[in-house]
Symmetry: C2
Subunit: 165 residues, 2 copies
């Protein structure tokens, strides 16, 4: 099945999703955050088919979220290590996790909790405005045309209406 | 192609991804946050096949992120309106958007920016600890077994090692 490409949409959400490709990719990243570095480690903890895993790892390396580091020669074997770009994806996984904890956990509560070491709390992640620190919600946040929006689209009536331009 | 189900994994990230199903779903939600409420509106702005869209909307209604509200009788026509559960997904989209802005935008900058009305800044969303307000990063956050982790798995050596138990 040919997948629609979102890579060139003027939307960072669509571009992010296009890069991920499918849902295995964030789970591979989750494993990397748990400290998994080797192909067999990813394979065992995810139970994913080896060819699927090889494809997702290759994509994450090509896109610069993971880098391959040799840990053995003859034969060469690699670790897969998070880059800065990959580590920065943590916020996305934390936001997904918080939402899943709130809405999908059963009555026993969340399966996994996160301890924020600087303050010592077992805490939930929250998405806030980096300037003032208050939560960003659909009610208090509005989308505007950014500098990278394609000029050929920015004048369209539907686009102008959407962004209050 | 039969998709692996992540719904019963003891992981809120996997459960969230299972519910979403595929990448059209977050884009349908994005449109709902932009104020789109009608089938034809979603269809036009996403350019998605009508049967795919109908399926994703049905799923979002079944899962309680959108609700159908009749706006016309004979024939009955519905709006699709975000519920509290759906509105709460905003943080996930904002976190994705922030990551995409940082890592996938071209030299012109982000295509869309967000104005946080309470402080008046065009700002980036940030994922912080709800208790102390400081960023949650892979370096300062550790995962622990939560109350909803399945007891039959919690004693396994690999699980105990992963969660420092």
């Amino acid at each position: 099945m040919r997948r629609t490409s979102f890579a060139h949409w003027p939307c960072s959400i669509a571009r992010t999703m296009d890069l991920l490709g499918d849902w295995w990719t964030p789970l591979v990243l989750r494993e990397a955050f748990y400290g998994v570095r080797r192909f067999d480690g990813f394979q065992q903890s995810l139970g994913v088919a080896r060819n699927t895993l090889a494809d997702r790892l290759r994509r994450l390396v090509d896109e610069g979220l993971l880098e391959k580091r040799p840990y053995q020669t003859e034969p060469v074997r690699h670790d897969y290590v998070l880059t800065e770009k990959g580590r920065d994806f943590y916020g996305v996984l934390m936001a997904m996790n918080a939402w899943g904890d709130r809405w999908l956990a059963d009555e026993q509560g969340p399966p996994v909790v996160f301890r924020h070491e600087p303050c010592g709390h077992t805490s939930r992640p929250e998405v806030v405005c980096a300037d003032c620190g208050d939560p960003m919600t659909p009610a208090n946040t509005s989308a505007r045309l950014g500098p990278g929006y394609p000029a050929r689209l920015a004048g369209r009536p539907d686009v102008r209406e959407r962004f209050g331009a």
